[in-house]
């Protein structure tokens, strides 16, 4: 592949395997920049990026901000609670106003699936989806896939298990699409209430049994149990969830000795993952965070250079 053609990065479902591979290769080159003493290159000098997070985030927002700054772009944070949105302005009006200030790119997180897509179709700037509802979170998917590839040397033919609240997880969806396109075998595991019916049609396998999900897995991506949604009673109690689905020293015995343990954060220690498992030598949770900056630098570079 000779270059990047798209204006936006909205999700991994719409990308080809070739496009995903191209981002991963570019990411490998950017990883080195963050290890330099002067962690800054002039590639995006003069570009302005707006970061619009309509939902709370620390990791993703900081990661994007660092990525932009390491490329010498200017990044402006926009916080919806202090904006005209609370005065009744529509999202599109907000976008148009910000674009009138000649911004080149927007990084958007919103609780509604499709909002980023809606804005991207109507505005000239590049858009990066930083999480829209339970739809997609492409840069998280990319950094997870990059981490697996970096540690295992390949994606094709690997068995990757995504565990937990698949229903509400945009991280699960982006991972699933990306991994399937690159030829991995994806297993989704969790309580039946947290797995959307019919998701097998994507090519992923579904099991409600943790032992079965961990057998032969090369990586297990442990999703956060979103306690704030627990009022809807998707499972009887956090304790019961832990007993059946927690990743800990005991359940890890069902997995291969070199299984990668991943978590997109923030972790609920003692709920979906034990502290012991999160900190053992199979855990690549902090490597994921490190790779997140490199992936976002690659994406910003690809979207903003040559346009």
């Amino acid at each position: 592949m000779s270059g990047w053609k798209r204006k936006d990065l909205l999700g991994l479902e719409e990308l080809s395997a070739e496009e995903i591979e191209f981002i991963l290769t570019t990411t490998a080159s950017f990883k080195e920049v963050s290890t330099r003493e002067i962690k800054k290159v002039p590639a995006l000098r003069g570009k302005t990026i707006g970061s619009l997070f309509f939902e709370p985030s620390t990791r993703t927002r900081t990661s994007f901000e660092l990525a932009a700054k390491r490329l010498s772009a200017d990044i402006v944070n926009f916080s919806p609670s202090a904006s005209s949105l609370v005065k009744g302005e529509t999202v599109l009006d907000t976008g148009e106003n910000l674009e009138a200030m000649k911004m080149d790119c927007f990084i958007v997180r919103h609780s509604c699936a499709g909002v980023v897509d809606f804005l991207a179709k109507r505005l000239k700037a590049s858009f990066i989806n930083a999480g829209d509802g339970s739809h997609e979170h492409p840069t998280q998917g990319l950094l997870d896939i990059f981490t697996i590839k970096e540690k295992k040397g390949r994606i094709k033919g690997l068995k990757v298990t995504i565990l937990g609240d698949i229903r509400h997880s945009r991280v699960a969806r982006s991972n699933m699409w990306g991994l399937l396109k690159l030829g991995a075998r994806v297993t989704l595991c969790g309580p039946p209430t947290l797995i959307p019916p019919g998701i097998e049609s994507t090519g992923a396998r579904v099991t409600y049994n943790l032992k079965e999900a961990l057998k032969d897995a090369d990586a297990v991506n442990v999703l956060r149990i979103q306690l704030e949604r627990q009022k809807e009673n998707y499972f009887p109690s956090p304790r019961e969830y832990s007993r059946r689905y927690q990743i800990n020293a005991e359940t890890l015995r069902w997995a291969k000795p070199d299984v990668l343990i991943m978590h997109p954060g923030p972790m609920n220690r003692g709920l979906e993952i034990s502290s012991e498992a999160a900190e053992c030598r199979n855990s690549v949770i902090l490597t994921q965070v490190e790779n997140g900056v490199a992936v976002r630098m690659a994406v910003l570079y690809l979207l903003l250079v040559g346009k």
Binding site: S2, G3, W4, T26, A28, S29, F30, K31, E32, V33, R36, E37, I38, K40, V41, P42, A43, L44, G46, L71, A298, Y301, L302, V305, G306
Partner: protein
């Protein structure tokens, strides 16, 4: 080409402090050239460090390029401070690549000196940059181009003048 490279190595050996030397090749063919020089020079002295520079992120035309350049990794695993650096590239043309390489290098440290070696100087400089060691000066027209082929990359050693 072998002759040119061994002559260049000889000149470098005579004019630079070999004990304090570090080579930095500019991707892509500058890297192979630097490795060849390293091979010859190391016969006379202890190990000479070799770094690889990808200047893409430092280009001055990134906002204007029509086709997006592919970024590759820079690998400089030694301390540049106090070293005498020999920057190596295959063709010197406008000087803009070297400008970018210099900007990138100084972000890695503060060498004692930086010198430039090129296999081919084809003229038409747009910046005040001149090589310290030149393999061959080939006068060209601006719309022609020079292609250096190397055994390691292209399967043969050859310098081609291409009419556009």
């Amino acid at each position: 080409m072998e002759k040119i490279i061994s002559r260049l190595a000889e000149e470098v050996g005579a004019k630079m402090d070999i004990e304090n030397l570090a080579l930095v090749g500019i991707r892509r063919r500058g890297v192979e050239l630097a490795a060849r020089l390293q091979n010859i020079l190391q016969k006379k002295t202890a190990e000479i460090p070799l770094g690889i520079l990808d200047i893409t992120l430092y280009r001055d035309d990134l906002s204007a390029v029509a086709k997006q350049p592919v970024v590759r990794e820079t690998q400089i695993q030694f301390d540049l401070d106090g070293k005498d650096i020999l920057l190596v590239d295959d063709v010197l043309f406008t000087g803009r690549t070297i400008r970018a390489a210099l900007s990138e290098l100084v972000d890695f440290g503060r060498p004692r000196s930086i010198k430039l070696l090129v296999l081919v100087d084809r003229g038409h400089r747009e910046l005040p940059i001149q090589p310290d060691f030149t393999g061959k000066f080939i006068p060209t027209e601006k719309n022609q181009s020079i292609e250096v082929r190397l055994e390691e990359v292209d399967g043969e050693d050859k310098i081609l003048l291409i009419e556009s």
